[in-house]
């Protein structure tokens, strides 16, 4: 799978750039429906087990994936997620890149605050998922779309 996308915009993040060299494999899933979120959770869990992440780290990564996938569907109008196998020479990791071509996030710092929501939810998913992973990066352009990248490394 190349970096060219079917119907979603791909933005550059610092993290994304550094991980181009560390990526060993990539798979892409479509995010449109509730069922797609469940499918992603299953895939992420399988990959986390495959690189022997601890049970707590598996759960944190799958939960963060669930939160961000829901955001992609609810706020981004759907999009896709790239599942990357990472290897920096010292350790293995999993990178997830969520991309949508939705309305974008006008104020990322505000969106990351606990309790802040524009969708009637709890306002915990975005900021909360940042706490659950090792690396987190966002690029969003109003009117064009949003890209969120997260990484969990095997300890």
């Amino acid at each position: 799978m190349s970096d060219a996308h079917t119907d979603a915009v791909l933005f550059e993040t610092t993290l994304l750039d550094s991980h181009r060299q560390q990526r060993t494999a990539r798979a892409t899933l479509r995010l449109r429906s509730d069922e797609d979120v469940v499918g992603l959770r299953k895939q992420v869990r399988e990959r986390a087990v495959a690189i022997a992440l601890s049970l707590v780290d598996q759960t944190k990564l799958v939960t963060a994936a669930s939160e961000l996938a829901r955001n992609t569907i609810k706020y981004g109008g759907g999009g896709e997620v790239h599942l990357d196998a990472l290897d920096d020479g010292m350790r293995k990791g999993i990178g997830l890149l969520f991309v949508d071509a939705g309305q974008g996030i006008p104020d990322i710092d505000m969106a990351l605050r606990d309790g802040y929501t524009t969708g009637g939810g709890l306002g915990l998913g975005f900021g909360g998922s940042k706490r659950l992973v090792d690396e987190f990066d966002v690029d969003s352009r109003p009117g064009e779309g949003t890209a969120v990248m997260i990484v969990k490394w095997k300890r």
């Binding site: 509730d34 069922e35 979120v37 469940v38 959770r41 299953k42 869990r45 049970l55 707590v56 598996q58 759960t59 944190k60 799958v62 939960t63 669930s66 939160e67 829901r70 606990d114 939810g121 709890l122 915990l124 998913g125 900021g127 909360g128 998922s129 706490r131 659950l132």
Partner: protein
């Protein structure tokens, strides 16, 4: 349509969540439980989540809302069997399940509900 079964035992309702719930299914369960509390005159609801390997903010909110709705319908809710990794993740995510009673397993949950109402 896909549904999570609700069992009745005396004046208690028992739910064991054994599937990876998508959002619509979680909302359906919340609605079904609220209706059954009224229809069956239930005094307690026990939700067993021991088979759930993930509770994200949506499922957490469903659990909190269900407990709040049960409370105003004069029923008590106990959530039992949360896996340790799920508990760690929930707290780090920022979810506290405020107002929800918890117990380690079904037996302890039943006795918690029993003490209050019998």
């Amino acid at each position: 349509m896909e549904r999570i079964p609700i069992l009745r035992m005396g004046d208690l309702l028992l739910v064991t969540i054994q599937v990876d719930m998508h959002d619509r299914l979680a909302m359906q369960l919340q609605d079904d439980l609220t209706e059954r509390i009224v229809a069956d005159g239930a005094k307690g609801v026990l939700i067993d989540i021991s088979a759930l390997d993930l509770v994200d903010s949506f499922i957490g909110r469903m659990i909190s809302n269900t407990a709040a709705m049960a409370r105003v319908l004069d029923a008590s809710t106990v959530v039992v069997g949360m896996q340790p990794a799920v508990a760690i993740t929930l707290v780090e995510l920022g979810l506290t399940l405020h107002g929800v009673k918890t117990a380690l397993n079904v037996e302890k949950g039943m006795s918690l509900l029993g003490k209050r109402y019998r």
